[in-house]
Structure formats: structure tokens, C-alpha cells
Symmetry: C2
């Protein structure tokens, strides 16, 4: 009686269930960085590569290269929609209007393209390589990471019965809600969703974001600050959160000829950045070549920046270091922001919030363990929903190798002789070995 | 684009969302007892009453008497459908064909009616009274209990947001699945769903039953024996489980004139029962007036019955008592069945199964804590989904008071002077005080 014949026929003739449904389905900082690159490095050529750090997972056995290509071609066929462009142009980001220049928006709407790419299989692993103008390559990162992550999810889902699927999501929702209840107890929290790239799926990320919004922003409180995902910020009237990533200092370092220029490149990025952006967007990421040397050698004006993001160092150590550095330079840390974003879960967030409360404005960028925590949720106890540590890294810039050292030596990547040169220039005293979970 | 206009309009013009959708939506034993009553006591007049034992819950504040009346009138307007009649006539119950006589089925299809009733409100409580022929009154019990239970659920649901509803069911499903995982570890279990009368809702009971069927009956094992709910047995090709209830000995006792006849009435029920039914349906319920006196005074042929159901006594004590009694009478307990059905949860089931394994064929009738365990699932920590102890009891039979003593003195109900007479006839040595949860 109630059969929806059209829907049924449509479902049976499904061609492609797209993972990335809009070019806005990316981290907001990619758009900020894209404008930065478009403005400062429009002719720069780069290559980048997707690497699966979790080598025990043979990705090629779970993801069909042909199906991946279809998804990627679908994204290449997307354009920014008229209403999306209007939103980018007219919206207020971090309290600032017109953050994107008209000329950039015009280029974005009419001339933006994604680069060519290659997919290869080797010993059960998939490798994706991108080559072209930096402006064409850079946006692939988040699209392709969330795509591979969701294709892995779909593979795992395809092995569950209808009831098992129901159990899986019931357990994941129960887990999410238990976390939310824990966070609701903490006053003055500041949390953002940073979980786009390693999410279980787009729809699950959307569910998590809506759950946080509804339950943490009640009665005038605003504990959920927003999401890094621009499509979700647009769709659900949330703040789009994010500033910049390691990609920028890595590229500028790769382009630097001599050792002095190499050393200076990490500050040169900041100079260029503040020519485009101000206020809350002046958040630095000092760990690309080690935080301690970065702070020690930083020009005086760096202390005027709004805050820093901690990505690879123990946030307690990095925060204390930053606070001491600010005080030594006569700045009040209580006006500055400290953003932690590396493999956080609820317990870390609550602990760090308590640790920094009243000392510095602490925010948590909650990533994979928000949008992809299915640990122990599989109805038959398998681990097929565990997120993998998939990263997309800049490999070369104008033909020269690019890499980072970071505060965590396990995250260092690049050819050995160049790593040596970088270590000589930047030192490696501050590198510690915090465990990399995701 | 995909709006189902017809569905949307239909949903907006909803008149009644029926709770009882079929006359089969009752415990199977009600149908067995109905045939028994139709055959042996077609002219007997009774009254019965719904009592809320959980007096702290003011039911009238949650359930509108008018809405309850609409639901009850809906059930009174139902008839057994043609296909349901065919199933009752042609199906095999407990391995026996034609358990229902053609004349009974003819009467059921054409002449069965539900009695008149009264709904009254007093101090925040609802009282429901039924009056008429026993054949017209008896079937109200399960319809009205599950109806009140689900109306209470709907009231609680109406105070939750869409997200909170989602969380509620995610938690309840997670709970259910955790229980199932525990049961899957135990070999040779025999579990049935006995949870119709105090279920969260019809659809939730159906979900629970399907989950048990799919997950406990795999690879040739059959740990889930079936459901007491006839509609679900019919719909999902499951065994309909159940035999008889206290209603029968209570009524026969009420009709007994002298003390000797009163004492004999508890065995007279069994005599009449075995004139209609045999084999697996010969399961007695000896606790109506105390198990110990029942067994002590039972005629020899009672030991030939297939088993007993334990409803108010600690099943370990009752089982040991039954086993000793059988052995004393030269019967092998390992061929007999012991069914526990009072407020069981998973831990009890596993413990009792282990206790009786190899000694007697143990089965668990899993009731309210299967179909209505939402403890701790409310997203704001309220207890509005807790089941209440609602019972429907026979009050009078041909104008004389009816009641039971049972093994649990807290379950005894009836006028004080008559209780005294019953205590004189049956004694009260065996009455213990096990906690009544539901």
C-alpha cells in the first residue's frame, strides 16, 4: 500500500553513491590556504602523495582502485555551486566579513580545477600521487582522505547483516552520547570538530556534529565552537573552524635555497599569512621543524599572534612552553589561545581543559575519536572499523623534496640526507616520542 | 524531489496509532485457556480488575482515560482475520496438530466478543473493571496490560527530542545486544519471550524477538525456543509458547463450596486441562495457593505431567523441591521441564541454567527485562521508562471472591476473611518473601 515505487526503482538502479557531495566538504583551512597559495604562489608546481601509515592494513584488498577512481572523477566534476559561492562571499568567518577576496572567489568559481593523479597498487597497498600546480593539488588532500576512509567503512559495512548494522550504529551512538554526557559536566569548554579526514562517513560526521551542537550549546552556553568541515558549517549554521597546516612551512622550506633562508622560512610563512589574514586567524603551527627552536628563534612580532595549535607534542608540555615564552616576552597568556588537535579523546579534552583553565584560552580540535570511534562496536568483535593512519603529504615543491621534522620523530618523513640537513639547521633537541594513535 | 506526498499527508492526518493491531497480539496461553473456558465454563460470569502495584506512579497523569478508551474500542472492533484463523487451525503447536477444536474456532471467528468495561480515576490512579462472561472477560488481560504499558511509554517518548529518541533506542539496543552476547556463550540454553504484557511497545518487542531469533538460532542451534506472543509467532514463523495461568485455579477455587472441594480444586483444574491438552502442554503452575502443599497433596498422576512453571518462588528452591518430589515418586527429573518466568534477567537465566543443567530440562521465560529494559537509557537520566507492576486479576467468579496466595506473600491478594479461610485450607508454610521486581 505504501510502496514508494519511484524510490525503490531509483535505489535499485543506483550508479554511484558519492562520498564527497560538494567541494565545500573539506576542512575550512584548505580554503584559507588555497587563497594564500593562489595569491602568493600561483605558479608553484608540487607533487603530493597519500601514504597509509598503518601498513598492517592492506588497503588494496578493501578498496577497489576502479571504484576509487570513480569517486575521484565525481569530485573533479563538481563545481562550487552558486549558493555556496554566495555563502563564502557573504558569511562572517571568525567575526570578519569578506575574508575571501572577490578576485579569488571569481577564480574559485570559474577556474578552480583539481590536478591529475595516479593510483598504483603495490603489495596490497594503494598509492595515490598528485602532480600539478599547487593550487590544483592542495585541495585533493581532504577529499581523498575522507574518500578512502569512507570506502574502507563501506567495505566493512558490506560484511554485516541488517541487524548487525543496526547494532553497530546503536553501539557507536551510545558511545558518542556517553562522551557527550561527560563533556556536558565541564563548564566553559571550547570544542570543535576536526574529524573530516578520517571520519567513518560523511553522514556519521554530520550526525556527530549535530549531536554536539544540540547537546553542548544549550541555555546560552556555547561549548561546541564549530566544525572544520565547511559543508557542515554552511549546512548547519556553524562556525567554520581552522587556520593553516604544515603544508605551508613545508613548501616554503623546500623552496629556500640556503640554510639561513631555510631557517627563516618558518617565519616567512607567518609574515605572508598576516598580510592576508588577521585576528583569530593568526594561529601558528610551530611544530613543523620543532617547536622549541621555532619559539627560541622567533622575531618579536610572532608573540603578537593570537595563539598556537599543538599537533605533535604533548599539549601539556607545549602549552607550558608557550605560556612561559609569552610571559618572558611580556604578553599575557590569558589573552592567547592554545588549540590541541592530535588524537584527542574526551578524557584528554577534560584533562587539558582543567590543566589550562585560567592560564590560557584552551580549545580542543576533536578529530578521529569524535567522527570515527567504532572501537568495540563491531557485532562480531572484528576490528574492520578501526581508523587507519592515512596521510596526504607534500612530496616536492618545484622539483625539490619537502618534509617536516615535527616534535614527534615518528611523524618525520622525507629522504634521509635532506632530513639530516634539516636537523642541522633546526636541531632536534625538542623532538619527543609521544605515541601516535591516529 | 523525493517527497512522498501521500505518506506525508497520511502522517499529518493520523487518527489513531493502534497498540493492539490484531487479536493474535496476546499470550498464546490466553487462547489455550479461552478454549478451556469455552468448553468447561461457557456460562460462568466473572469480574476482573487492573491494578497498578507501583503506587508511586500516578498513572492517570500519564494516560488519558479517553485515549485509553479509544484504544480499547479499537480492539473491541477487531475480529480474527481469515488468514489468522487458517493459521490457528492448521499450525502445529508443540508438535501437535489441531490443538483447537473446529467448534471452538468457529465460535472464535464468529461469536467471540470482548466484555464491557469501566474506567475510573481515583487519586491519580486509573482503575479498569471488566464484567461479563468469563469467555468475554479473560482476553482483556493481555490486551489491556500491553496497551497501558505502551501508552505510558508513548507519554514518556513525547517528552524527548528527535535526537534524544535516537539516543534512547541506541542505548536500549546496545543493552539488548550485550545481553545477547552473554547468552550466546551458553550452550543448550532454552529461552522464550514472555514479555508481551509489560513491553515497551509492540514494535520494540518485535525487534527484541527478531534479534533473539537471528542471533541465538544459528548453525543449527536453537537456543531461542519461541515467543508467548501469538501475533509474533504467526508473523515470524516462531513457536508459540505458553500453557496456562493462575486464573484457572483461582476461578475453580472460587467456585468450590466446601473446604474439601476448595482444596481439591487445584487438582481438578489439572484433570480438566488434560482432557483437552496433552504432551508439552501438561505444564502445571503449582504456586497459586503454595507449592509445597500442592505437591504434598497431589494425586499420583500429577507426577506424570511434563513439567512445572515457577512464577513466585525462588526457582532454585522450587526446582530442588520439584526434583526431590519427582524422585520420591519414581520419576526421572531429567525427562521433566522446569520453566522459570518471574522477573528474570540474563544473569538469572545463565545462573539457573547452570544450576539445573543435567538435572532437569530448564527453560527461561524472559519477560519484562527482555522487552522493557530501558533502565539508565533516558538521555536526561529520568526514570519515566521504568516498567510498572501492573496486573489484571480475577476479582469474582459467579459473584464469589477469587484470589491466590502464591509462594510470595506480597503477591497475595483478596479480601482478608477469605484469605484467612484459604490459609486455613492450604496452609502458609511454604510462603517465602522473594523480592517482587516486576
Amino acid at each position: 500500500m505504501n510502496v514508494n515505487f519511484a524510490e525503490r526503482a531509483h535505489n535499485h538502479n543506483w550508479k554511484l553513491d558519492p562520498i564527497v557531495r560538494s567541494l565545500l566538504d573539506t576542512d575550512f583551512y584548505k580554503l584559507l590556504m588555497l587563497q594564500f597559495i593562489w595569491k602568493n604562489f600561483p605558479k608553484t608546481e608540487v607533487t603530493s602523495e597519500v601514504v597509509n601509515r598503518t601498513v598492517s592494513i592492506r588497503l588494496a584488498e578493501r578498496i577497489d582502485a576502479g571504484a576509487l577512481r570513480e569517486q575521484m572523477e565525481h569530485v573533479r566534476g563538481l563545481r562550487f555551486r552558486r549558493s555556496e559561492m554566495v555563502w563564502l562571499a557573504g558569511n562572517t568567518f571568525y567575526g570578519v566579513r569578506s575574508i575571501f577576496e572577490p578576485a579569488f572567489l571569481d577564480w574559485l568559481e570559474n577556474d578552480f580545477r583539481l590536478s591529475e593523479y595516479q593510483i598504483t597498487e603495490h603489495e596490497g597497498q594503494l598509492t595515490l600521487r598528485f602532480q600539478g600546480l599547487w593550487t590544483e593539488v592542495t585541495m585533493w588532500e581532504v577529499y581523498v582522505l575522507s574518500m578512502v576512509s569512507e570506502m574502507k567503512t563501506r567495505w566493512a559495512l558490506s560484511h554485516l547483516s541488517e541487524l548487525e548494522l543496526d547494532v553497530l550504529y546503536a553501539r557507536a551512538k551510545t558511545r558518542l552520547w556517553d562522551k557527550i554526557e561527560q563533556l556536558r559536566e565541564v563548564p566553559d569548554l571550547n570544542i570543535s570538530d576536526f574529524g573530516t579526514r578520517r571520519r567513518h562517513s560523511f553522514l556519521w560526521q554530520e550526525y556527530c556534529v549535530q549531536a554536539l551542537r544540540v547537546s553542548l550549546n544549550q541555555n546560552g552556553t556555547q561549548r561546541f565552537a564549530g566544525t572544520s568541515n565547511t559543508a557542515l558549517a554552511y549546512k548547519h549554521d556553524l562556525e567554520a573552524i581552522g587556520t593553516n597546516a604544515h603544508e605551508l612551512p613545508m613548501a616554503l622550506a623546500a623552496m629556500a635555497d640556503r640554510d639561513a633562508a631555510l631557517r627563516q622560512s618558518q617565519y616567512r610563512v607567518l609574515e605572508l599569512w598576516q598580510q592576508s589574514y588577521g585576528g583569530a586567524l593568526l594561529v601558528m603551527l610551530p611544530d613543523t621543524f620543532g617547536t622549541t627552536q621555532f619559539l627560541a628563534g622567533a622575531p618579536e612580532w610572532v608573540a603578537d599572534w593570537t595563539g598556537q595549535r599543538v599537533d605533535s607534542k604533548d599539549p601539556v608540555v607545549a602549552g607550558d612552553e608557550y605560556i612561559a615564552w609569552l610571559m618572558k616576552r611580556g604578553r599575557d597568556p590569558r589573552t592567547k589561545r592554545l588549540i590541541a588537535s592530535d588524537a584527542l579523546d574526551v578524557d584528554d579534552i577534560v584533562r587539558l581543559h582543567a590543566n589550562f583553565r585560567g592560564r590560557i584560552r584552551f580549545s580542543a580540535g576533536w578529530g578521529t575519536l569524535l567522527t570515527n570511534d567504532f572501537r568495540g562496536c563491531h557485532p562480531r568483535g572484528e576490528d574492520t572499523f578501526e581508523p587507519i593512519s592515512l596521510v596526504c603529504k607534500l612530496m616536492t615543491v618545484n622539483g625539490r623534496p619537502a618534509f617536516k621534522l615535527s616534535d614527534n620523530s615518528r611523524k618525520s618523513m622525507g629522504p634521509a640526507d635532506e632530513v639530516e640537513r634539516y636537523r642541522r639547521v633546526f636541531g632536534s633537541a625538542a623532538v619527543d616520542g609521544a605515541l601516535v594513535l591516529v
